[in-house]
């Protein structure tokens, strides 16, 4: 049963996957691809415009190669996405399964906690967490992971409650299948599509929040190449060197857009399948 979606959507899906795949490759192979060391300053070349020999996308206020910094910045962005989504997923799975399987007061208490976390404005909460535990990418990733775990917990709980009623889960129970195996064989694989969709959307959110926090100076720390941090220093030169803001802005925009689009498309795909 092949999903039937419009050809246009199919093309967009492949473009999105191509972009994300390329980005992942670029991030992994950054040291091989980048034309220059993203940290090396060259004061005489500062503010070289895009196209200058040796600076295809121009040079920043310290004369560092913008292209190389964008390439290494992809590492930070994807790392933040992966780690924070991983943390959110893990926490969300544990709480969601516990709530869905145990029901009753455990469920009520866990969901109350999750709703409390969700009711805070995300970026504000992230800022608070980072202010308490210190600036830096590891703290940002942990904060984003914790903050987004309720999104996963709610999905996992709802799916657990639904799937638990599926006759095949009841049959497995009757067949004496242990709980651990019911979860791993019957519950998780069947909630996977929804989780994957949530992962891609959360991935995009995580990248945005990392960029925001780095822009505010709370995330990635100089001189680490991070798109948000690049935007932060670029805003001083918007009129004189607009490319300093343009390229990292474009990178953030494209990446976030791609992951959101992927999430939408996957969602559509899976709905048709149901």
């Amino acid at each position: 049963m092949k999903p039937r979606i419009a050809t246009a959507a199919r093309v967009v899906l492949w473009c999105t996957l191509l972009y994300i795949g390329t980005l992942a490759l670029v991030a992994i192979a950054a040291p091989l691809i980048a034309p220059a060391d993203p940290l090396v300053q060259n004061i005489p070349a500062r503010f070289s415009s895009p196209g200058t020999a040796g600076y295809p996308l121009g040079a920043d206020d310290f004369g560092r190669d913008v292209l190389s910094r964008i390439i290494f910045g992809a590492r930070a962005a994807l790392l933040v996405g992966l780690v924070s989504v991983g943390i959110a997923l893990l926490l969300g799975l544990v709480t969601g399964l516990a709530a869905g399987l145990l029901e009753g007061p455990v469920d009520s208490a866990l969901m109350l906690l999750m709703d409390a976390v969700l009711s805070f404005p995300t970026v504000l909460l992230a800022i608070t967490v980072v202010s308490v535990f210190g600036y830096g990418l590891p703290q940002v990733m942990a904060a984003i992971g914790v903050i987004f775990s309720p999104l996963f917990a709610r999905i996992v709980r709802a799916e657990t409650l639904t799937l638990k009623q599926e006759p095949y889960v009841m049959s497995a129970h009757a067949l004496g299948t242990p709980l651990r195996r019911i979860v791993s064989v019957h519950l998780l694989p069947n909630m996977l599509p929804k989780i994957v969709v949530q992962c891609t959307v959360t991935f995009a959110l995580a990248i945005v929040i990392e960029a925001s926090l780095s822009f505010l100076g709370l995330g990635a720390q100089p001189p680490q190449p991070s798109w948000g941090l690049m935007l932060r220093s670029a805003r001083n030169y918007l009129l004189d060197a607009p490319w300093l803001a343009f390229y990292p802005g474009l990178a953030i925009g494209l990446t976030v857009f791609s992951f959101n689009l992927l999430g939408d498309l996957l969602n559509e795909l899976l709905q048709i399948r149901r």
């Binding site: 049959s171 009757a174 067949l175 004496g176 242990p178 064989v185 694989p189 069947n190």
Partner: protein, 267 residues
Amino acid sequence: MDDLVCIEGLSKVHYGAGLLKRRARTVRAVDDVTLTIGCNTIMGLVGESGSGKSTLARAVLYLDRPSAGSVEIDGLNPAVLSRAQMKLFRQRAQIVVQDPHAALNPRRSVAASVAEGLRNRGVPRCARERRVAELLEMVGIPARRGRDHPEQFSGGQRQRIVIARALAMDPRFLILDEPVSSLDVSIQAQIINLLLDLKHQLALTYLFISHDLNLVAYISDSIAVMKQGRIVEQGDAADVIAHPQQAYTQMLFQSAPRLFDTDPGRR
């Protein structure tokens, strides 16, 4: 004839969810049910939808812990069983559920589904594969189709696979919860015939749940009538059909279209 299944005073109460409103919505889905089913016989369980038949089935198999009462199947009372003995209980009593579309995990091959019980019993892999093939053939599915996924089978075929999965446990008692109600009439007959054949071959005992009174009348040795969680009438099938004692039973049988004589055919 010895009794295989003894159910005594079984009740199941559903509590409302939530931290605050626990008391507010309690439902006595099964209320003080006492039944006995003889060895190698079929008991038909009838009643309107919502009368608590499926809840009773789950409670009998201890899929949901009953609120009160006791169950004993082939001498095993799950309320007092150890973990190891519980495994034995799970082997003795199995269930075949109504909707064959939802009864199989869509993400697993049917062979994997049939093998699930064997795996739980600790049957080694090669023996498992052999047995799965046997079981599939027994219910009329070619063994080579074991690799396929549920979506590649028709409703009747899936129900056969579900039956094979239950049989993998070598049960003595099967609860058949509306096993054919979602199938075409012609397919229904095939499945019913398969079930009757299997009962014969494997000396099985059935609790046959259905709202199709003609079907129940056709295959049952005894009949229990359920209303609002209670058994309002039970007895020999012929007696219940011929001389229903309760107004409710009469109403049930009058409203059903008559396909069979009041004297049910026996196998």
